[in-house]
Symmetry: C2
């Protein structure tokens, strides 16, 4: 397996497009994205577990119930959530894609992201659809830009891997930034692959994967109403269709995880206002549940996040988060260290502080990518969670998001 | 019942003192507090459920196992937590109080607050003890100041109430500010009363109360390692000792709740960096658990908190928090409004937005005390939770707390 360029258009037979249609006032910001497979593709998606769900989720759920789709459309600037006519508008978006591409409206995955509770006007989408369809090309950039909201960095990843004797590709794009604390689903992620795989196995691979990828990310503890991760697999790589567990399915899952983990890191690093990617590597847990819960508690702690912003080796806050995570932990066994490109500093052994160089700690924590290693010394299980620091800019961005 | 002055010294037979002994470098900040009852008092306390617990908690638990105590000592500037000699130091603190007051060391409640994981030096406490004991007087101020860390405002409340045919008093002091998200216990709160009540009934009253008071507060979602709420009841009011349920116990609980709820609001309003008190009044819940969980989710949401800071009526974030709270809610029935001294603005009816004046909303949300009213329209249960806004200063304070 190796990293390649191309994001959601790396795999054979996928084209994408992104335009400014007018949902956003800022004309230099694209606000409508489209990804299309040249042939019908197996489709799977996972969604937010928030009880308040965006209208597009209901429509997408219905459209891929048969396991297949051809296109994914997504607007930014408006979440189309908590609106009385939300489902109607989401269905119109699918119908417009269907008309312009000559495919059934029921083969379209639809998503929206932006402000909640403001009616979404179909007019700019309708008038932009011709340009959107005309702009389709094997380049992921415009679509990746069009789904961004407060994101600062574009997020696209792809890999090439071997499966069933052929080379296949899998890639995708994501938007993250705020209201990021996925629960059994994720922010918006659109994945594509030319591997051949049946809809049931694609669903299985995706739902297994999100537990170890997107559900391990948090920016601010708020589970969005519009989280969705969707994947299209069009089979053009020519491998024997993956229809059961086995070596081919494992190769597919490995490629999928390589892409999703990279997108996770991109989403965390580009959290609203973030200046740093924080990875909590949790080892020595007695069971997987403990490893998962504790590592996530550490990267979710506002106090840990603020300390990382200030490059302050305040490890007591890490231990505090371990203690309230809700897992059964012997805190007198816990070791904590901070690592970055500048080195490693051990700060806590067996639940108590050890002397360390504040100068080295400052240097380590001033880097852009910080590992917090927590060893529970109680068993063989481990986990990783991805987060970011809490900064003035997070407050600034969210103190006045709507205007 | 009526509000009176005096805090932890309002009740008969209680004196307090607070000095700077040298735990903190800043000589103008008191760092050691003592509250003493002239006679032995029934004692009860509740503690953090964090698995990492400060050494003072272990010592206090042991000292009040018999249901009685005479004094409460508390230092700020160092949490005496995650230190190898923590219990030894906490016991020395009790022994010093015992020596200077001529009472058993086992009649002392001990607490510490401040940085985790830095050994606490007994020397400044030992050398300050004489001045601390000499300073005891029926004035709550110096003690209330001495327990403050990043608190900006002193927190003291007291009430006078009738019980068993006599007038009794109940009051207390608190420290809050950061790492505030109590779980079955609380930040540091020291309560005193001259009502006569048995230790079992005092414990019962306190544990019933914290569920409806301190456990409904959150500043930053981080449950501290040192949370403690302790109460001494010395019986000097002369009421027939409360030894069972009934009218007297109810009168006592009502007085207790009047004091604790007021302290809750003070703690939330004085959350680290806070400019506003946010109260989420949740009504129309089908059951109490739902009312509790949902109201707390709303005041814990980073996005809601940042919106309140920016006086932005971004009610979609309120609905989002309702949706991910983990309760069984029909989101299509939910109404939301914002209220303050400047008026009320309805923003959501039946799960969808309603037109409202942005100018009025800005005015309402620019006040210092904001009510977010969420009506689930599904039943008779209600709850209140107290929080604060998320501001630049929270990040500033916590980006570099240790230095």
């Amino acid at each position: 397996m190796k990293r390649i360029d191309g994001g959601a258009c790396a795999a054979q037979g996928f084209r994408a497009s992104g335009i400014h249609c007018g949902i956003r006032k800022n004309k230099s910001k694209r606000d409508l994205a489209l990804i299309v497979s040249d042939v019908r593709a197996a489709a799977a998606a996972v969604y937010t577990l928030n009880l308040v769900q965006g209208a597009p989720i209901a429509v997408t759920r219905k459209n891929i119930a048969d396991g297949y789709a051809r296109a994914m459309i997504c607007n930014s600037g408006n979440a189309n959530t908590c609106n009385l006519n939300g489902v109607e508008i989401a269905e119109k978006m699918c119908a417009l894609v269907g008309e312009h591409l000559g495919i059934p409206a029921s083969d379209v995955i639809v998503a929206s992201t932006g402000v909640i509770g403001q009616p979404l006007d179909i007019a700019p989408i309708a008038s932009g659809m011709e340009a959107l369809a005309a702009g389709l090309e094997p380049d992921t950039t415009a679509a990746a830009e069009a789904i961004m909201t407060t994101d600062v960095r574009m997020k696209a990843v792809a890999v090439e891997f071997e499966v069933g004797g052929v080379v296949a590709k899998l890639g995708g794009i994501a938007k993250g930034s705020g209201m990021i604390h996925p629960n059994m689903a994720t922010m918006l992620v659109f994945l594509t692959t030319d591997a051949a795989i049946t809809p049931p196995m694609l669903r299985k691979a995706l739902s297994m994967d999100v537990k170890r990828s997107f559900n391990r990310v948090s920016v601010d503890g708020d589970t969005s109403t519009n989280d969705m991760c969707a994947i299209l697999a069009n089979g053009l790589a020519g491998n024997p269709e993956i229809a059961s567990d086995g070596a081919d399915f494992d190769a597919f899952r490995e490629a999928l995880n390589a892409v999703t983990v990279e997108l996770c890191k991109m989403i965390a690093r580009d959290g609203e206002g973030a200046t740093k990617l924080i990875e909590c590597a949790l080892t020595g847990a007695a069971d997987q549940q403990t490893a998962d819960v504790v590592s996530k508690a550490v990267i979710c702690s506002s106090l840990v996040k603020a300390a990382m912003f200030g490059a302050d080796a305040n490890w007591g806050r890490v231990l505090c988060a371990v203690g309230y995570a809700g897992a059964d932990v012997d805190v007198s066994k816990v070791d904590v260290s901070f690592t970055s490109a500048a080195g490693t500093v051990e700060v806590c052994k067996g639940g108590a502080g050890v002397p360390f160089s504040e100068a080295l700690a400052k240097k380590v924590l001033s880097e852009e990518n910080i590992f917090i290693h927590v060893n529970l010394n109680a068993g063989p299980c481990s986990s990783v969670a991805w987060g970011c620091d809490l900064t003035y800019d997070y407050v600034k961005i969210n103190g006045d998001y709507r205007t």
